[in-house]
Amino acid sequence: MENLKRRKKVSISQIIIHLIFILACIFCILPILLVLSISLTDESVIYQNGYHLIPEAFSLDAYKYILSGSSPVLNSYLVTAIVTIVGTVVHLYLTSMLSYGLSRKEVKYSRALSFYVFFCLLFSGGMLPWYILLTKYLHLKDTIFVLIAPYLVSSVNVLIMKNFFKGIPNSIVEAARIDGSSEYNTFFKIVMPISKPVFATIGLFVAVFYWNDWMTCSLFINNTKLYSLQFLLQSIMDNIAYLQGNPMLEKIGTKLPDETARMATCILAILPIAVAYPFIQKNFEKGLTVGAVKE
């Protein structure tokens, strides 16, 4: 009897918890579904009836228009994809080698160098000197490099990786050394493969950062051919800016998808993350705790 009562009580609290989570999930996902629905609705219906969660008149015109190549979206997609891939690979390469060196006990200056890296987290020169450095001295304005170069090493990631490498048993490295393996070989052939979780997590964080970055493009890029996807999205919030970025300016009179095309661009910007999500999520979660270890 007692047991039965307890089970019933427990199941009620379970139901409440499930309800809370279902509401929270709706809260998280509903706005995305709404935008998806708008992107799949016929443009003229939007003008009459506004946004709806379920398309009132289904239409793929917005996607057809974007994929036909007459909008700047495809070009921005390419720019962003290049920036994300190159940026992530080089970031992982530079950051992991720096972190590995800092993690080795036999490196006498590792403590001082760690502080040299860590200090950047405490103090920075601010955005203006950084802006002047990139434009006036490194001459990166209006080049694709400016979207990649500023973020190739980050102090936080160096410290996270360093902590991870410190957890690798020294005996493994020693054994490789005795077998005549060079330090590079040890790093690339032995340390890297066993450090997959940290590479995966930091790689994901960096890739998402590059993919979602709009600020750099907004500051340094005037050439519309080099617009990143996020910045394009930001600049097409206003109708007019969109048309300026669009060579088909004379087509204003005809009914081009506009509102729906913008929402479709949004969906396309989320798409790669959504497609990769089920695969990356497991690693992402596993690595999140790695990200929370302290200096």
């Binding site: 379970q14 918890i17 998280c28 939007i46 506004g50 590995y100 020169g125 601010g126």
Partner: protein, 324 residues
């Protein structure tokens, strides 16, 4: 012969004391070469701009360069602090970040604890996946999502309001609404991420603690308060420190929501403008580099003090959880 050996030893000693640096470098050559690109990068991207803070004390003229521009003392700071914006952006920056940190971490701990209570593993992992997803979405896209809800003529919320016979609300015209919209949006994006971090910490707690507590007759609530929360506290504190450090962290903190959600609308500045958006706008216009640099330096200094202070505070109560 002996003499020669002696001399060699002496020579060796001398080199090791005088050239310890060179010896160390050559001994661990491989490691230093590995580190070199990263160290150089940090020097160029992080340390060189630090020298640029002198611009804050100059009347910077791009054609003259940094060195030749005239010194003006604290005039740039004076100009900023006498403006109405200084108080507004400082207040907003602190106001929102305190809410983000306190409410965000609190909610995340709550969600993590509740996730742990769910028996059905399938549902638990499904909820987790959905809650984490907004974390990967950019603030630009989030701006669109918000607009589809709040747009005056087409937004879903206004249509609902009209459906019930009320006047539509001009969300993008009235600053006071944004005191709620911004924190809610922040929670939408970040609570899932934080709770997944905390949940991972909870699953790492040994079940021995709970079994022992059960034997002593502890209730579920007691177990949560007495075991789960104290044991995940270190990681909560670490997240707290990391977030506190970001409040005034020039440029690279998470300030996109202040710019993208209100669509950089001037009418809303009184409740949406923060230091980062202010600097960003003046950087884009580039009409007064000296003042922009001064605000940047102000931000960096406050950030520095804030991090050192919070870390000191944490160190006082829980030395193991401090960042350094």
């Amino acid at each position: 012969m002996v003499n020669l050996a002696k001399r060699n030893v002496q020579k060796e000693k001398k080199t090791s004391s005088n050239h310890g640096f060179i010896k160390e470098i050559s001994k661990n050559r491989a490691f230093y070469i590995m580190m070199l690109p990263g160290l150089l990068f940090i020097f160029v991207m992080y340390y060189l701009p630090m020298f640029g803070v002198v611009i804050a004390f100059k009347d910077y003229n791009p054609s003259q360069g940094i060195i030749k521009s005239k010194w003006v003392g604290l005039k740039n700071f004076e100009f900023f602090f006498k403006s109405q914006s200084a108080a507004t952006v400082t207040f907003n920056t602190l106001f929102y970040n305190v809410i983000f940190i306190v409410v965000g971490l609190g909610l995340a701990v709550l969600v993590a604890v509740m996730l742990n209570e769910i028996r059905n593993k399938f549902f638990a992992s499904m909820y987790k996946s959905i809650l984490l997803f907004p974390y990967l979405i950019s603030w630009v896209v989030a701006g669109y999502l918000l607009f589809s809800l709040l747009s005056v003529d087409r937004g879903v919320i206004n249509r609902l309001i009209q459906h019930f016979g009320h006047e539509p609300i001009q969300w993008y015209m009235e600053p006071s609404y944004w005191r709620y919209i911004i924190p809610v949006s922040y929670m939408w994006k970040n609570v899932g991420y934080l709770s997944v971090v905390f949940f991972a910490a909870i699953t790492g707690i040994s079940s021995d603690y709970y079994e022992a507590a059960e034997m002593d007759g502890a209730s579920g609530f007691q177990k949560t308060v007495k075991i789960t929360i104290p044991l995940i506290m270190p990681i909560v504190i670490t997240m707290f420190l990391l977030q506190a450090g970001k409040i005034f962290y020039a440029g690279l903190g998470d300030w996109g929501l202040f710019y993208n959600l209100p669509r950089d609308s001037g009418i809303l500045y009184s409740t949406t403008d923060v230091i980062d958006t202010y600097i960003f706008r003046s950087l884009k216009q580039l009409n007064d580099p000296g003042m922009t640099a001064a605000i940047g330096l102000y931000q960096s200094l406050v950030g520095f003090v804030l991090v050192v202070f919070t870390n000191w505070l944490v160190k006082k109560y829980d030395p193991d959880s401090a960042l350094y």
